[in-house]
Amino acid sequence: MQIQEVLSLLKNFNAKEELLQRLVTPEIEALVAKIPKPVGSFGFDAWGYNEDSFKVGIAVFKLLYDHYFRVQVHGLEHIPKNGRVLIVPNHSGQLPMDGVLIGIATATNPKGPRAARAMIERFFPTVPWLGNLLNSWGGVIGDPVNCVKMLEAEEAIIVFPEGVRGSGKLYKDRYKLQRFGNGFMHLAMNQHTPIVPCGVVGCEETMPAIANLAPLAKLLGVPYVPVVPAPFPLPAKVILNFGEPMHFAPVRTEEEVTTRVEQVKTEIQRLINKGLQERTSIY
């Protein structure tokens, strides 16, 4: 009798379903239901974002967000509940953990969750499984056409104007903003999009690099190969500070654009300094 019961239980047991049910809690379901994001009849958008994958992604990284990086976040009220927005943070930590954590912060924002799209490196689509997986979580290759189309669709986008200059910098240069590209400002001006600056503190310490093996990186065709104490992100405490939305009307010359980029940079530096002051311990 007992064996039969166990067998019938096992018959109905589906490991994948079970795991999904444990991971994707009703709270996450409720949050994603509130996200103002239109998808097609099978739950996909043009870039491969998929609601179901997104929920699983949030569920997995929310655990890291809460318990591993113990993220402390301020200024979530500055992220508009709907409509186009560019979230512009500093970039650090070799791996794009900062992008992931900002994504979780915006997706679980109690004041209005958003599915923020992160710009990913152009080689990701060539990597089997990983490319599709990142797309399904909302990652999109950083192409200006993609940005314009997504802003037209009133999406939230995370842009790192420092690019690999920021993420690949050495530990000795921590919290020093690298040169910003001007592309994001052109987007903001031409697409009438507010910029929400964000200061990230803590990600520098997740992968403190003492050197970059540039020749090896060149050989492998990757942006950098850092020398780090551990091959995984260390559990540094992360503090995110979102600033007030900044609006910019179009200007004519590139010089004026650069001046405005500097304004954003100054604001991000201020938010970083605020986070550094709030921080009581690194790990």
Binding site: G40, S41, F42, F44, G48, P125, N132, I141, V145, K149
Partner: protein
């Protein structure tokens, strides 16, 4: 009686005469059915003389051959809907180039010579080329990079550039180029439709690009609309609904036949060795790896068009045919 006959003849004389190429194909057949009655239709195909309804003259003719001009001599053609095309798996590269590119050149010249007032070209989304760097929602002004992907699509790109030259040089031809996404449905014999009709369908391990699908009836509506409203230009024709390839394969009731996606030479080699030319040809492998997603807004807004059938309607046909055959 005589009066009626005269009236009918008068009616036929007043109606525009439309030449439809590729008349043996599923799309052209539907277009002809929609036009029949309101227009005098002339059907041509290079494959065979198509059986048509009463009152529709039908010809088997190759566009690049001399006999093609006779049709323009025998009928006062007002408009051409150029739907017919030799697919890459149907013929050698040279022959295809002759038919698709030189044939089109001949068509444009004849249209000029015989004062045809409107030409509609049925192109394909393949012209954009599938690349890992493609952004989504490509506009009509996006560079056509198919020839970078494969030599086997050069004829598609050249046909378009030829059409563009005539579009600008001869505005009196009123040329409209339509670039549809994957067209599927009963009777459709393109690679994608053949592929989804299989029980075992090849997929590339780890790659499932986003795709757009259009029902052949919706495409026929779109063609007729573009013809009747006559607004020359280049238009993508695609719905604003998207699905990854491997999901579409499942939804069509196919069993996946996974093959390695990298290094790129492996799937190409497998396709050649297993003789998958008709439905999973080596030159199209990239389209099963990277997305080509079109922005169809321009067409939708210009012509007030919206597809009537959704993805599920499209896939149901393939599911059902598999069920009935098993």
């Amino acid at each position: 009686m005589a009066v009626e006959k005269k009236a009918a003849a008068n009616g036929a004389a007043n109606k525009k005469t439309v030449l439809v190429t590729g008349a043996a194909g599923a799309l052209a057949k539907r277009v002809i059915a929609r036009l029949h009655g309101r227009y005098n239709v002339v059907a041509v195909d290079f494959r065979r003389k198509v059986e048509t309804d009463a009152g529709i003259p039908s010809y088997k003719v190759e566009m690049e051959k001399r006999g093609f001009e006779d049709i323009f001599l025998n009928h006062k053609i007002d408009a051409v809907l150029h739907i017919g095309r030799i697919f890459a798996h149907e013929s050698s590269r040279d022959r295809r180039y002759n038919a698709n590119v030189l044939g089109a050149k001949k068509l444009f010249e004849l249209c000029k010579k015989y004062g045809v007032g409107q030409v509609l070209i049925h192109s394909t989304y393949y012209v954009y080329g599938a690349s890992a760097y493609n952004p989504a929602l490509l506009d009509e002004s996006h560079p056509l990079k198919a020839s970078e992907v494969t030599m086997d699509l050069v004829d598609s790109v050249e046909l378009e550039s030829l059409a563009n030259i005539y579009l600008w040089k001869h505005p009196e031809l009123h040329i409209t180029i339509l670039r549809p996404c994957n067209v599927l449905g009963p009777g459709v014999r393109n690679s994608m439709s053949l592929l989804l009709s299989h029980t075992f369908t090849p997929v590339l391990l780890g790659f499932s690009p986003m795709m757009q699908f259009l029902h052949v009836d919706d495409m026929a509506d779109a063609l007729v609309l573009a013809f009747e409203q006559n607004k020359p230009g280049i238009y993508n024709v695609a719905p604003d609904d998207y699905i990854p390839y491997q999901r579409a394969v499942e939804e069509c009731g196919c069993r996946k036949f996974p093959i390695p996606g990298i290094p790129p030479v492996v799937p190409k080699l497998m396709s050649s060795l297993l003789n998958w030319g008709a439905f999973f040809p080596p030159y199209l492998i990239n389209y099963f790896k990277y997305p080509v997603i079109l922005d169809g807004r321009l067409f939708n807004e210009t012509f007030g068009w919206k597809p009537k059938r959704n993805l599920n309607d499209i896939f149901t046909y393939y599911r059902k045919t598999k069920l009935s055959s098993s």
